[in-house]
């Protein structure tokens, strides 16, 4: 089923033909054909996920992990092959997107990632290995209510960002009673302006559709009156209490601050059904070791911390982030790898802080896509320009932007200014950029956004801990005792336990156990100097010891065991986030 909006977008872009060719080249065998040339509303997304799950019963399982405020399913598609044991024993990679209702393209990226892995299993070495060794938990949209609102109703590029739980934004005792209206009926919420000699804007000298701020001494021509709408509740203000009115990505329970410190925070952490469902899903899958959130826009690969008060992350963890983030900049050429609080702004109660600092998971958040008008501008250069040059440049940029709407999008995402009789303002004009005109990619670019970001996810997932035993060395001692030297290697950058998790005791440590006929672990030590045989004592139980700190990235941990037993001895290295590996040796 293709929605009206979808068709509208599709019609504008001939590029979808190119796109199908592009998709065709990506190792699609005979799986279901999904197209990535349009945005899926929730019903379409549900159908696409169901089709994927039904087509690959051996690899995919679709689970409703909760309901949105308005009762839509929050879907998680779980991907892994039956090889290498049960899913919960494999390192997990988690993806969610679209927590902000208007930031929709993350859902397509997430869907694409699932589709790519499934359709490439068995033909692509990487996809096959990842599904064999790892498990993917993919939640394409965290905010289906506002996603549908944005796609199917009159919206604008920046909203609805919130979920759809009604809030009394203007504190008048009524909720959501004065939102914007699509007065000109173009399917988007655009802008209102009025001819006004007292106004502080005038028309652009080369394009009357564009308004520019007047400079000192210049005569005003227009006032901007904000978004399309009327004063529904007669309180003298327009559009001051629209749908929702909060920010779910400020509602997570780590370093959370209330509304007066962090706008949109909600009454307390996880007070919304969607954030609750995601939290519970994450807690239910402690094997998740890597995570990715998708937002728009600006072309960024972001990491924690979100606020200065948290201090920098432990250095060992920063190295992991840097390794993946810097390679991400190559996979995503227009994207910059940044730290939220340092390079962007302060976020209290954000998802990436909770996921990393409470759950011990390495997590990135990508701001998908850059707006066309931002491309190619050298931001650093601008600050050195004198005022006049900067002004002229801004005039030119506005023209370039209009060129893009006129000649690339062929006028589809720009509504020309038309007169309107407003109940309060009288004769006004309504027009401007429509909802798909900013922040989301045009359909002809969506596939690239999807593929490159999926590739980044797969790279990160491939960098989750990958543990293996070196052949253990057995030395026979007296009294049926054996000294067993065990090395567990990690061939990837992510440690089996993050430094944060070790320092803050976020979850259990790794465990090394022995199994076999009469097998007992008498003593254990972590080998710190193999030449001198120095070990650091590890606390042992009857058959196991805890390995604090786990296995570092691109490194190994050497343990010397004193074992009793006969015959075959199975060594089991069991890591909450690094998976479980086993090897069998003969005690002789």
């Amino acid at each position: 089923m293709i929605s009206r909006t979808t068709r509208q977008v599709k019609k504008l872009i001939l590029g979808c033909v190119l796109l199908l060719i592009a998709s065709g080249s990506i190792g699609l065998a005979n799986g279901p054909s999904l197209s990535f040339d349009h945005f899926y509303n929730h019903a379409e997304l549900t159908q696409a996920l169901q089709t994927l799950a039904a087509s690959y019963p051996q690899l995919a399982r679709l689970e409703s992990i909760g309901k949105s405020h308005q009762g839509r399913d929050l879907w998680a598609i779980i991907l892994t092959s039956a090889k290498n044991g049960p899913p919960e024993r494999k390192p997990g990679f988690y993806i969610d997107a679209n927590i902000h209702g208007n930031e929709i393209q993350g859902a397509e990226v997430a869907l694409y990632t699932a589709w790519y892995l499934l359709t490439s299993y068995g033909t692509s070495e990487q996809a096959t290995r990842l599904l064999d060794e790892k498990v993917f938990y993919v939640v394409p949209t965290m905010n289906p209510d506002s996603r549908d609102y944005y796609i199917t109703k009159a919206a604008d590029p920046n909203s609805p960002r919130s979920g759809q739980v009604p809030m009394d934004d203007d504190r008048d005792g009524v909720k959501d009673e004065d939102g914007p209206e699509d007065l000109n009926g173009d399917g988007s919420i655009t802008q209102m302006r009025k001819k006004d000699p007292k106004g502080s804007y005038r028309q652009h000298p080369d394009d009357p559709r564009i308004l520019v701020p007047i400079r000192p001494g210049e005569k005003g021509e227009y006032s901007l009156l904000g978004q399309e709408g009327i004063d529904n509740d007669g309180d003298g203000r327009i559009n001051e209490d629209g749908p929702g009115g909060y920010d779910m990505n400020r509602n997570y329970g780590y370093n959370w601050q209330p509304n007066y410190v962090q706008r949109g925070a909600g009454d307390y952490p996880f007070c919304f059904p969607e954030t609750q469902a995601i939290r519970d899903f994450l807690l239910k899958h402690p094997n998740i070791a890597g995570a990715q959130n998708f937002h728009n826009n600006g072309g960024m690969i972001l990491r924690a911390p979100g606020a200065k008060n948290l201090g920098e992350l432990p250095l060992a963890d920063v190295r992991v982030y840097d390794y993946i983030g810097k390679r991400g900049e190559k996979i995503l050429p227009d994207y910059r790898y940044l730290t939220v609080y340092k390079d962007l702004y302060t976020v209290y109660g954000g998802s990436i802080d909770f996921i990393y600092s409470t759950l011990g998971i390495f997590c990135f958040s990508n701001e998908l896509d850059t707006d066309p008008s931002e491309r190619g501008t050298d931001r650093r250069g601008q600050s050195r320009e004198d005022e006049e040059t900067a002004y002229l440049r801004s005039l030119q940029r506005r023209l370039d932007e209009m060129d893009y709407y006129d000649r690339v999008l062929l006028g589809d995402q720009y509504t020309d200014w038309k007169p309107y009789q407003h109940p309060v303002y009288g004769d006004i004009e309504i027009g401007g950029v429509k909802k798909f005109g900013r922040r989301v990619p045009p359909a002809f670019k969506l596939a690239e956004t999807c593929h490159r970001n999926a590739a980044f996810c797969l790279f990160h997932a491939d960098q989750l801990p990958r543990l293996e035993f070196d052949t253990p060395k057995i030395t026979k001692l007296d009294d049926g005792q054996y000294q067993v030297d065990v090395s567990v290697k990690n061939t990837r950058v992510t440690p089996s336990i993050s430094a944060q998790a070790t320092q803050k005791k976020l979850h259990r440590m790794d465990r090394l156990a022995v199994r076999g006929n009469g097998a007992r672990m008498l003593a254990a030590g972590q080998l710190v100097d193999e030449y001198r045989g120095l070990t650091r004592k590890l606390d042992t139980r009857a058959d196991s010891c805890w390995v604090e700190g786990g296995i570092p990235g691109f490194g190994q941990t050497d343990v010397r065991l004193l074992v009793k037993g006969t015959g075959d001895l199975t060594l089991v290295y069991d890591s909450l986030k690094g998976g479980t590996v086993e090897t069998v040796v003969k005690l002789q």
């Binding site: 997570y252 007066y260 009454d267 996880f270 259990r508």
Partner: protein
Amino acid sequence: MISRKSLCLVLLGLLSVASAAQPVAQSRIVHDRYHSPDEVSAALQNFATHYPGFATLSLIGKSPGGAPLHVLEIADRGAGLAKAEARPAILVTANIEGNHLIGSEAALLLAERLLTGAVSDPTIKKLLENKVVYIAPLLNPDAAQSGYFGALRMERSTNATGLDEDLDTAIDEDGPDDLNQDGMITMMRVKDPEGEWIVDPEEPRLMRKADPQKGESGLYKLYLEGIDNDGDESYNEDPSGGVELNRNFPHDFENNTAGAGMWPVSQPETRALVDFMVAHRNIALVLNFSTENTILNFQQTARAKATGERVKVPQRFATMLGVDPEQEFELGEVVEMFRGSGVFGGEVSEDRVAQLLGSGPAVSLDRQDLPVFEAIQKEYKEALKTAGVQYPEKKARPVGKGSFVAYCYYQYGVPVFSTDIWAVPEAKKAETKKAAAGGEAPPDKEATPRTRAGNSSAGGTETPDLDLIRWSEAVLGGKGYVPWASYAHPTLGPVEIGGFAPFARVLPPPELIEKHIALPVDFYLKLMQKTAGLAIEETRVKSLSEGLYAVTCFLSNPGWLPTSSAQGRRAGGAWPVTVRIQTDKDQALFAGRPIESVPSIGGGETKKLEWTIRAKSGSNIQIFAESPKLGAVKTQVTLH
């Protein structure tokens, strides 16, 4: 049930006047012992049964241990202008810590005083006709039940959420054990080469840390009584239960701290309470009973001082505003600067400016609110003096991190008062000197074995002190202290078990409950009379010329507390008074706005509002004033 005697009377009462709306005589609850969670619930149900027009019981949630969380609503539902939900409300809360059982007794007494006075006492009658009181007398039933009323008595502030404190994948597998079988958990001391503790040479019943400067060296290690149940060489490191509810609230929450919970408001009890408060935005005052005494000590933490909020303007804004970035201002001053500057459009509110300045959360009482807290503190001290109660003021505990009281003030945004009701009295001067000479450790130097009970805010296992010894001897017949006695410990070898009895430090003996709860209950009853109110004091009409009238409205707060706190306005927990003037189609507002917003009216203060109206002589206009926390008033004015 409360007692057999009262049960009989309750039943009699039920039989005789079950359906009458009038309150019926019910026998008093006798506070001669601490009432268990079941008894507290039963008492609340009895109230609801016996005062049908006044008391309504609702269940707001359940603890992880399955105990009900009740709120008793008290209001004269038959009287008053507004439905109970629309009246200004006072929330009374108690025992969020679980070990502060005397708080529950006080809350029950408070409920009883309100209900028995609902008809006969004119002050209470008036209060219940105009306001509604919500009483939650037991907010941590799990800790109360298992700590005090279980088979084994031990101080505990955690609810029954199972946690794997030692991260060994087993839950609650190594708690304390009653090795000497005296029915309670005390301490163990063990001679250990690593021991830091010695027997106090001045008072051999006390333990204190060795002072190497004096040539002393430690002899003992201290543990909570118990064995290493899970064989990991740690003792009592994973006891039953999990989260200390009074550390689980979202102001100044400690992340990554096991006892505080994984995130703020993560527990069923804290969530039920916060949900209740969010749903009842008419709550204008919170009166709390806990081990915190914020009436006498209103510091945010032991360190912060009540200095009020002074801010610096960051460089980039300082330039725009033309002020010195090094100078400190009050937030209100900066708000005015922004208002005058046109730096950003739209409404320039305090919270918007605070965010812009990156001020972060408030950490001390706002200076504008301070006079209220100071006045109440003074009154409380006077009340103690008048009653001849020797309360050790220096021991008054401020709020801790993540505390409920802090949440009420800093985030929910209403005035809140908390009293601990009782504390171990100070030993007499000479004795204190002796204790000081003995090197009593200052609180932050007290090293206690890292156990859940040891970390609890009430601290029954803190460094023993002389006051408690004296108290135990003088009042408890020595029962507050268990003399150290030898015990053959299975893994530690010969140990001694003893020290202070659980609850000795937090609770007075049952026979003293009645004596101690009377004063704070009286005090809270009086405080309830001081809540803010809203009245249209007077309206004046002045004819300016034919068909043109000046209307003046004097809006007043007949209460003593201001209609909103400064922190409430900042945090958005307070509502302004909204004043609407209603004109008909033949009338027109010439000057003044149809909707006016009054941020705050101080106690006893009056605010003047003026409009100029064009209307026919003899026509009427209506003026409405309302706020969720104050209720609604209206008046009609005839223009002539």
